[in-house]
Symmetry: D2
Subunit: 346 residues, 4 copies
């Protein structure tokens, strides 16, 4: 950690900074430049992180520059090799496999979820998604079938062998989701719901953690760190678009985030092209880009009849469109030496 003093900082201010550092049990290394004095801080990382804000608050300090990243368990430096997350027999992460998760935005009924599950499995999907508890911007929108939705997802898993991922937004929902599903999704709106992150960190189920629309990569990795620090290391990150300024797409897919995250962390990284696109016509291009960029998988919304969907109809692919997309996805994955994950549980 490096403390950069203002050019007008007095000797007393520099001395106070040094004293503050030493008082915390760390070592200070002062370097007097022509225009500015810089103080290096050496010692225990945790202590440094706690001291950072205090030093920034001191008179004469211009800024404090971190040399180390504030996250640890999730970083590649801590664990160089890829984490592989196993969900009901499907392995996500590692250099070879690409995993596609697909299904309806919301679970709306038995026929709907079963027909979609069969169709996406036939096209190569290896996990089923479907919302039972739906976070909706408006309190007046359809909020999901709740436990009935979970039951239908479990039924679809019985019928197809596809493990199931679905979202939980609070402790009560989490208890239910854990009973029925194979993986718990923490949605973008709850990425910094630290209570929920800690709770899901204590659960024995893998977690799909979506990046918030204004979250930096550091904030995203620290959200994952909350989960890992509670003992649950089975976390998959998901880029789903950040808040942009052009309204042709619903969110701005940050494809660079996929590339960067794969270098910063050992956790698997997948992409949700449906949320980002907001429009069916834009989903395939984003999905292909994600795989080409190096994502470990996709989560795609598919609906048998989008114009009757109870949520997000405009962005859901029809099964035939999904099947066509999957052919492109597998071809691109192959150029990078990757193949569809196998479905050992079936």
């Amino acid at each position: 950690m490096i403390v950069v003093m203002r050019s007008a900082a007095t000797k007393e201010q520099v001395d106070a900074v040094v004293a503050r550092i030493e008082e915390a049990g760390l070592k200070a290394h002062v370097s007097v430049g022509e225009l500015r004095t810089v103080v290096g801080v050496i010692g225990d990382d945790r202590t440094k992180e706690q001291l950072r804000g205090m030093l920034e608050a001191m008179e004469g300090v211009e800024k404090v520059v971190k040399v180390l990243q504030p996250y640890k368990l999730v970083s590649r430096e801590f664990q160089p090799e890829d984490t592989v997350v196993e969900v009901g027999g499907v392995r996500i992460g590692g250099p070879e496999a690409v995993v596609v998760i697909a299904g309806p935005c919301s679970v709306e009924g038995r026929d709907q979820v079963l027909s979609v599950a069969r169709a996406v499995k036939a096209a190569g999907a290896r996990m089923l998604r479907g919302g039972a508890f739906k976070p909706r911007t408006s309190p007046y929108s359809f909020q999901g079938l709740e436990e009935e939705g979970l039951r239908l997802l479990a039924e679809a898993r019985e019928a197809t062998g596809l493990p199931v991922v679905t979202e939980a937004m609070d402790r009560r929902q989490l208890d239910l989701v854990v009973q029925y599903a194979d993986m718990v999704q923490i949605g973008a709106r709850n990425m910094q719901n630290y209570t929920l992150l800690r709770e899901v960190g204590r659960v024995r189920k893998p977690v799909l953690l979506k990046r918030g629309p204004a979250a930096t990569l550091e904030e995203t990795l620290l959200a994952a760190e909350y989960i890992l620090s509670e003992g649950n290391t089975q976390v998959v990150l998901c880029e789903r678009g950040v808040r942009g300024f052009d309204n042709h797409t619903r969110y701005l897919l940050d494809i660079g985030a996929v590339v960067v995250l794969k270098q910063l962390t050992h956790l698997p990284v997948i992409v949700d092209p449906s949320q980002a696109a907001g429009k069916r016509a834009y989903v395939p291009g984003l999905a292909r880009a994600a795989i080409a960029a190096g994502a470990d998988g996709l989560i795609v919304e598919v609906h048998p009849d989008p114009e009757r969907a109870l949520s997000d109809g405009p962005q859901q692919l029809r099964p035939a469109e999904f099947t066509h997309l999957m052919r492109q996805v597998w071809a691109i994955a192959a150029t990078l030496g990757r193949a569809p994950a196998s479905l050992t549980a079936v």
Copy 2:
């Protein structure tokens, strides 16, 4: 609601849209232009809102334009006169009073919170803030004194008469906060935690709802609508900066949001200059701007010794700096015909 068809839309596609509208019990009004056909939708608002995504998902549809806002209870159209929220005898909202809430970022100990409470009261603050449960980006940062912090806040209220606002992040914390505090804060990270919004909507305490850093004004108003729709109409909105691209300030204070929200909604709107600034030196300018723009109040972080603060030291004002700022704030408020709120409870 207006459905704009693509220029290449076929007659069959237009007919299908009309049929879909009529099937939902609404009326369609078709207008054929030279290049495009436009279909007006007339009838019940709730039904229209539910139909919107379905129509957007149909073939041949370019976009669906809302004519009405998706929120209702929070809108000025629904209630033209200002809502006045009463918190322990202090009235927030309405054309005359300006309410300043002040206190430490985190409650750290009895002396700290008592000394700050007395200092900010003397300078004209009418409510006390202080975090007992702290949402921290890193799991390794100080997380608050929890119930002990609540007790100290209550003690400071006894000593000064200042009503207390503090944050709750989940149901358990909410139950505790409601026992000790006069107003519940929902933080920016939880603005779209719909479970929490519904729970706080069922509580008999006023709510301070902070805008999320990537939330549109419509999303912010819909978050408030969640609370009002559960029966709790005592909601104060708070602008605290959105995610920007320049790192001199921590967030980008959206001063225009204050101006716009005051027109869109009858709820009081206050501003948090401390979170937005991230640096003590920038807080006064933002605070003055907020009052000049028409905000109904401020929430400001004050600490007796920022360089020893356990959270957000760099952005906390010292008591003397706060006192100086308050003089400017009251002078600006006076030019707009506004004055400090009275503290009836003392």
Copy 3:
């Protein structure tokens, strides 16, 4: 065009809007809803566009909704088939070919540019890039070799047969660039330099137009419309990243923009992964994503010795890295039925 009146609009205000529309020679169609009155405007597009701001300025008007896009010559509705831009025998655009442009950020000397030109040609690049006039954020940074740089680019073309693209920032530079180069680049910082757009619209050379970092897609297309409206239809659009809030990458590559632009316009769309990445390690992932998303080509920075580059060293690939990337690019292009453009001029 549709005028949405406020719910509180008076009959006089609606009448005034109708009168204003009819005065301009257009027809007004009034539709009175339960809560709001909506006025449709029918007639000549140009007149409607001019009237739009005036109507928005009238009392009682809430908003004016465009039904038609404000651009014409660049739109797919105006010209459904792809434009193919020919640059010195290389054809950019159309469903089959993918064109890769590569070369150093700045031209720094004969050996540098010749060695890069030969290396990128061998790897499959079909055009040479290189800055002779450099737009630099700081006035104290290296500003390019100017005309000497253009001469070296022309020499490299003689040696390799690769057509050359290079940037011009004003009229004087444009006159020189036109003499030496095969295509003129308008950089992101000048995307809304309308004088320059008009001038390049009158030149008989193809244009590479980069999207500005805060430009909406509509603004980008209108910038191209400036060029086409002057008679130059040979325009290639380039996405190079927008301003984002995370500093791991230099800009946030808007991969969705590629997908959307390919639907909105008939002009070719290419991607600059180097500017967006800002770091060599992130370039390949972005480049692969661009091709997978459907881009018609890439423009990539390559330098024989990045740690001695006079500009943007961190983001320039070494020739061997570029060669490796090209193999991946051609493999991905092939999965979409596309191949490297041919180099007929050699």
Copy 4:
């Protein structure tokens, strides 16, 4: 400047970095931490800045942290006292005066500009604005009266004594503007048009430089540095809103930028609330906020008949609205010890 090495950096990589620094005539100071090695770079600033990109491009380097700002002439460190820019007898900048510039978006005719000039002068404006050359997003929009517009502005100055500011977008326009006007505006779209910045730097007229909608404060200050480095020190900066994600306002007014810029630079800083608001109803709140935040002035659009304005009608105030706003502005300015600038030339 500080070079942070990757944790996996080898001794050879560190040695290469040190060698590169010394080869450039600078001194390297190596500090080996537990996890990372950090190399301080000491010596001439210009050389350091040139070396920065090269060091970042080297193997084993994680990032290079600047300790010094890249701008010089515009910084408060270089010149602590406020610059006061004199425009036709009106002084902008310094702790006492607040200068309001007002006038129509576009000059549309003699009566329009004269009537507005008289009205805004009566309300306390001390300079006249009005566009003769208009940068318009669409090539089909009204582009200004050009030289005829300049003549009308000069005529209005004769009639009222108000000095005139108007925009130039290229060299030819600049030559004309210099003949007729008292101050040259460089618009937001041309903030990084470096050719134009250099040209206006060689002119003997004060410059109003608007911040681009995606420009960081550092980029904005470096744009001003271009002008100062050519010898023209008479530059006023203008915040006019950055690109935001909510469409209620046209741009997001970055009020914090005013506060920060006043600390970073000695140049005067004013605010354009009209461009940011995009809607008349939002202008007064933004204007008041700007003065309260510490801006040295405002530039406000005023039109006698906004619903007939040829550009930006919705955001132009009527003269009576402007007069009302000015009363509030002067009252707020007074609370900060500031008063309207005097108009010595009349």
